[in-house]
Assembly symmetry: C2
DNA sequence: ATTATTTATTGCAATATTACGATATGCAGA
DNA sequence: TCTGCATATCGTAATATTGCAATAAATAAT
């Protein structure tokens, strides 16, 4: 039904799924790439950089902000976005904890 | 329009977005968790483990298989699924390459 | 051969996501 | 104040995703 049965899954599972949403759309990956490259913080000349309309970018930024991976500070009439270091580390750890579970210590192969 | 403008983004960005889809739904995370835990390969007693209907599980398995992060081998009337080690490492690297870009070497803080 | 078991596929309903035009909001400068 | 910029929000259309009942397909067991 397009509706996720959140209650069936663990906190960890739901949280990782949420975090993964920061990367599950190329536009959001592109925004993060751009933020990483332009070390300093930037605003919506992402509209120039990516070929998407301004409301679309704004929507992706809002999602990323909701996930917490970026933060924005008002700077006059502009808004400066950048990576949120704390949340970045948190998400990185969540992924690493998953990735580190395989290969398992004495993983006899399977199929 | 619910349609992603793939052509606007780089190969890297599209590939990471694809890989992230393995983790962007808690059911898929749960499946992966279960595969990691039950070191050996298993089949669809995921239906028992998670509380989802059999066709729903089957669909998630198909997506994970399409991404390549799991593989299945026919074993009589059952199908044994397990992690695909090569693809796992590949995806892990894709994420690490992103994560390693921050904090940047001399990252003067921003906002 | 018939029946049970396991998994995949089909068809469909409900909801979510992506994208954008139009519009609102908020600040800066003339 | 008025005008122009930057960004957010609203409304809406197109498409995607999630979930399941019903059914098919393929093997196993009787």
């Amino acid at each position: 039904m397009g509706v996720t049965k959140t209650n069936l899954f663990s906190e960890t599972q739901n949280e990782l799924a949420l975090a993964a949403k920061a990367f599950d759309h190329p536009a959001r990956v592109a925004i993060i790439h751009y933020l990483l490259k332009s070390n300093a913080c930037i605003n919506g000349d992402l509209v120039q950089e990516l070929g998407l309309a301004q409301p679309t970018i704004s929507q992706h930024l809002r999602e990323l902000k909701a996930i917490g991976i970026i933060q924005g500070t008002i700077e006059g009439s502009r808004i400066s976005y950048c990576i949120n270091p704390v949340r970045w580390a948190e998400i990185r750890n969540q992924f690493n904890q998953l990735f580190d579970q395989y290969p398992a210590p004495l993983s006899g192969d399977c199929c």
